[in-house]
Assembly symmetry: C2
Homo-oligomer: 131 residues x 2
DNA sequence: CCAATTAAGACTAAATAGGTCTACTATTTT
DNA sequence: AAAATAGTAGACCTATTTAGTCTTAATTGG
């Protein structure tokens, strides 16, 4: 339906919240849950995924938490979406796997896909967190 | 997952096929199914949806069929997607209904959404059917 | 009337997404 | 060393969406 998933959306909200504060500060899942108003188990899941995708760095143990993996100005929307839901591909044929039915509209979709990725790559977390 | 649905994809294939021929010609579902290699019930469903969305015109009865509702150069990809899956909205907040959680990243998404709609509006069926 | 063809919508099954939970590992504090 | 805190991994169930088919009705040409 040409829409990002809720998990991805939550990811952006969490990351924007973190970007709006001291970037050295460790945020734990519980506090983030309270601050954002999303249930703790869900917040934990999102943070875990973002860490696996390399967007966040984690510190385990008591007094642990998460920080941004790099400056907010260097994290793009495209990267975040890729980390959560995999490569952006409007159609099957614009993904790595491709599509066996190599039809006439395929090349147009690839152009659209490239344009979308371009728009998402030009938008940084820093831009987004300032509203 | 930021992807168009299969039904929408089929719609583009069917429309491109029709655009590549005499635009006055009536195409019936059976012939289109054979030409494109998609099962008849599915083709019928897609054609019905496209007609309801105003992209196609239909002629009922024996010797009936479908034609484009207007010249291929005047039908945009944005229109086709809207006809099949409703308004393009990357996030809840970029749709008509909106989102109760009016968060800080919302305005950025609206910009992205506008950019995507712009890209899709600049692409016509005529463009797409020429490869 | 009869045959062909679209129209409307119900229906089932499959895939995806959303959310929660439990058990485990690592770190700090006492 | 023990306890408390916090992330890790992954299973799990449910709800929603999507895909595809089917049945029945309505329309038109001959
Ligand atoms: S090749 Fe054609 S059928 Fe396959 S995904 Fe691309 S547009 Fe769709
Ligand atoms: S307002 Fe925020 S939470 Fe709601 S859809 Fe937009 S980005 Fe997501």
């Amino acid at each position: 339906m040409l829409r990002i998933t809720k998990i991805t959306d939550y990811g952006f909200i969490l990351l924007a919240h973190m970007a709006n504060q001291d970037q050295e500060l460790l945020h734990n899942a519980k506090d983030l849950s309270a601050a954002i108003g999303i249930p703790l188990p869900t917040v934990s899941k999102v943070l875990k995924i973002l860490t696996q995708g390399g967007i966040l760095k984690s510190h385990q143990g008591s007094k642990g938490g998460y920080t941004l993996g790099k400056p907010a100005a260097e994290i793009t929307a495209a990267e975040i979406i890729e980390a959560v839901e995999g490569p952006v591909a409007i159609t099957d044929c614009s993904s790595a796997e491709g599509c066996e039915r190599n039809c006439v509209v395929s090349s147009s979709w690839q152009q659209v896909n490239t344009a979308v990725i371009g728009a998402l790559s030009g938008l940084t977390l820093d831009d987004m967190s300032h509203g």
